[in-house]
């Protein structure tokens, strides 16, 4: 299949957005839903076709002379030309990760489209209000995300960053009449916007010194030349300019990473993601688990060669990633709202990917990378892929459960295993996958990541293994609390049960993928320079990680399989710690304080006062003063002829005298 079909992959969702958005109001709800599904189906098929063609086909320029898989720019028209050199183009570029992302996005999106047909309608199959809007926004998001991954230049990525930001804003705020949702959507948008500000600054700096936005100049070797030299040359045009000690490109890349961190919810910009769970659960599955949140990872991966050269930036990413992984995992251990818990696990997993990218170039030098330290990069992308699948699965299961019991709190669930076996089974698969139990998908990718971390330093490895263990623990905690723990008492009019096929089918499909995805030839396809890096399973690392995972699972089993006091005891024992973790270590409070107390009360209000009082007051004062003066001098005109004449005479004489003084002396 010709790669140029990618255009259709992007165009169809866009069309669906306008079509459903404008014409949808006139159509029936069901109809719009199915139209959306069909449109997405076509997109998915095309996307698979294109991706597979890119990976396994030949003769469309995807294979370089040395057999490395290289970027193919399908088309690339000018969109906005700042100067002769600095031109923003709207193009489509396929390279391994872009192709991989095409598959991820379309798959998950497809599943979500289908799933939503059931989810967005009540038990009697009546679709909710705003169904059309929902599908239009889904299409819009899909379009933006696809546009992001196939971007040919940094600025296009920025543009689609904004687009996905907005569509996520719209979808989080889908239930726009509930204040919580509105607040969450606002929060999500503004936090990511703040990050995007840094992204923009990074772009400005980088483009100013390198004189281009385009990746093929920035990072990819023009037809097969060694990309690292190219990147280096692009950067070196910065002429080693430095700012506050660091080279400007280091600054630029750091800023760009912050931009990514905002989308990927890295600490401390993660606070929007848990709240984003206010949106419909399928949306969380699509946007806040599988696709949008990995945009940051994707961005860093996109600029990987640059980061390799700018070690300073890499170090920052490494630290942030490692910390976030642990931090989020810790919080996930105590959350009672299952979606929140999943959200934090997402954060933690994305942090895994970031870290693995960052460790990827452990001891800098290019040779090392050629010598296989590109592993981290590959692992990260691989994990991105697998994680997307099983995390989407988990979220969709959660959605099914919530749809059944009308609550997010695991206290309202417990022992659902009997009621919804399929869901339970699918959820279990997801948990096993994320816990990293072979042969499930998560095992393979996480194993590679750990290997990469160990190769950077034993400390990093141990740290990340520990987090992996926590992951296993909290996932199974959730699982047991939902499906076992104690007998479920029914207090809704009809007992919870497996949901209609539209919702169950996606679970099954994703479950299967989560099982087999691990066997995808990632090492062969996702090498950072398009070359096949030959990896083999590192049994020591794999063994230990599996061991740790099992320990975590066991612990969870011990604590949460059957109802017992142990959890409460522990909670009472470490109440402070538990409380802090439950309150997400008070990050939200901190943000509240900064935004409301400092910025709102401390800056905006005074400025507004100043404007009305001082500046406006000044002009009013001028007017008042004139009026006062006019009133004050009225006595000059007191109506008596003699005073008139007096003024006249004095005036004339004064005129004469002053002039005499001036002229004669």
């Amino acid at each position: 299949m010709p790669l140029s079909y990618t255009i259709a992959v992007i165009a169809i969702p866009l069309f669906m957005f306008f079509f459903l958005g404008l014409a949808g109001v006139k159509m029936g709800r069901k109809l719009t839903g199915w139209l959306g599904v069909i449109g997405m189906l076509i997109t998915t098929i095309l996307a698979y076709g294109v991706a597979l063609t890119y990976f396994f086909g030949t003769g469309q320029g995807q294979l370089a002379a040395d057999g490395a898989r290289q970027a193919v720019v399908v088309f690339n028209p000018d969109w906005l030309s700042f100067t002769k050199e600095l031109v923003v183009r709207m193009g489509i570029m396929l390279d391994p990760i872009a192709a991989m992302m095409l598959i991820v996005i379309t798959t998950v999106s497809m599943m979500v489209h289908l799933y939503s047909i059931g989810y967005m309608s009540d038990h009697h199959g009546h679709a909710e209000k705003g169904y059309q809007r929902y599908y239009a926004f889904l299409a819009l998001f899909t379009f933006s995300m696809l546009g992001l991954v196939v971007a040919t230049n940094l600025f296009q990525i920025f543009i689609f960053f904004e687009m996905v930001g907005v569509s996520s804003y719209l979808l989080i705020g889908f239930y726009y009449q509930s204040p919580a949702a509105v607040h969450a959507s606002k929060k999500a948008f503004i936090v990511t916007r703040l990050a995007d500000l840094f992204f923009l600054l990074g772009i400005l700096i980088l483009s100013y010194y390198t004189g281009t936005f385009d990746f093929d100049k920035l990072v990819f070797g023009a037809n097969g030349a060694n990309s690292l030299e190219v990147a280096q040359s692009a950067i070196s045009t910065a002429g080693g300019a430095t700012f506050l000690g660091c080279s400007v490109t280091a600054w630029a890349l750091t800023f760009i990473f912050i931009g990514g961190a905002g989308k990927s919810a890295m600490y401390p910009l993660h606070i929007w993601l848990p709240d984003a769970m206010e949106g419909p659960t399928p949306v969380s599955a699509l946007i806040h688990a599988a696709t949008m949140v990995v945009a940051g990872v994707f961005l860093v991966a996109r600029l990987f060669p640059l980061y390799v050269i700018e070690q300073g930036a890499m170090e920052i990413i490494c630290v942030v990633g490692a910390f976030t992984a642990f931090y989020a995992a810790a919080i996930a251990c105590v959350q009672s709202d299952i979606k929140r818990a999943l959200a934090f696990s997402t954060i933690s997993q994305i942090a895994f990917m970031m870290t693995s990218l960052a460790v990827s170039s452990a001891d800098g030098g290019l040779i090392e990378i050629h010598g296989g330290h590109g592993l981290g990069y590959m692992a990260s992308m691989f994990h991105l892929f697998t994680h997307a699948m099983f995390k989407a699965l988990l979220f969709l299961c959660a959605g099914a459960i919530i749809h059944a019991v009308h609550s997010n709190e695991n206290s309202d669930m417990h022992g659902l295993h009997k009621f919804m076996p399929i869901t339970s089974f699918a959820f279990l698969i997801g948990c096993l996958a994320i816990a990293g139990i072979p042969p499930f998908a998560g095992f393979w990718s996480k194993d590679e990541i750990l290997v990469a971390c160990y190769s950077k330093g034993i400390g990093w490895g141990i740290w990340m293994s520990m987090v992996a263990g926590m992951t296993a623990f909290y996932m199974f905690r959730i699982y047991f609390l939902i499906f076992h723990w104690k007998k479920h008492e029914v207090h809704t009019e009809h007992a919870p049960a497996d949901q209609p096929w539209t919702m169950t089918l996606p679970l099954i499909i994703l479950g299967l993928i989560s099982i087999i995805a691990g066997f995808a030839p990632a090492a062969k396809l996702l090498g950072w320079d398009g070359k096949d890096l030959h990896t083999q399973l590192n049994w020591t690392v794999a063994g230990t990680s599996v061991l740790i995972a099992c320990v975590g699972i066991g612990l969870a089993f011990k604590m949460y399989y059957k109802e017992n006091e142990l959890p409460d005891k522990l909670q009472a024992r470490f109440s402070g710690l538990w409380e802090a973790a439950y309150r997400r270590f008070y990050m939200d409070e901190l943000y509240q304080f900064i935004t409301h107390k400092v910025i709102f009360q401390g800056i905006c209000k005074p400025i507004a006062m100043f404007d009305r009082g001082i500046i406006d007051g000044f002009f009013n004062l001028l007017a008042a003063a004139t009026g006062r003066a006019a009133y004050g001098i009225r006595r000059l005109q007191n109506g008596s002829i003699q005073s008139y004449v007096y003024v006249y005479l004095v005036g004339a004489l004064a005129l004469a005298l002053v002039t005499m003084v001036c002229v004669l002396i």
């Binding site: 005109q637 109506g639 002829i641 003699q642």
Partner: protein, 103 residues
């Protein structure tokens, strides 16, 4: 004894001053008219004297004086007429009557 220019100018200026003083202090409109006449006449005196002493050649000053006297007469006539009008209405010729229009 022969009279110099100053011996005329100084009195005329004094006269003018008196006129101004009278104008500014008097309350009676007629008195004010008289002081105005004083001022005008002092000016006439100036002209005549300048002509006589400095430029005896031509008679410009003299003629000017004649016209000025005529004008002064006309002014007085109009002024008196108006004063009478005011008197008709206000029953007074006090200048302080005329302060209705002000500010």
């Amino acid at each position: 004894m022969n009279l110099t220019l100053l011996m005329y100018l100084v009195p005329s200026l004094i006269m003018f001053g008196c006129g101004v003083y009278g104008f500014l202090t008097r309350k009676n409109m007629i008195a004010i008219m008289i002081s105005l006449e004083l001022m005008l006449n002092s000016v006439d005196l100036n002209f005549v004297v300048f002509n006589r002493y400095l430029f005896p050649g031509q008679m410009d000053g003299m003629f000017f004086t004649l016209f000025a006297i005529a004008i002064a007469a006309a002014e007085t006539a109009v002024a008196l007429a108006i004063i009478i009008n005011v008197f008709r209405v206000a029953r007074k010729v006090d200048i302080n009557e005329l302060i209705k229009l002000k500010f």
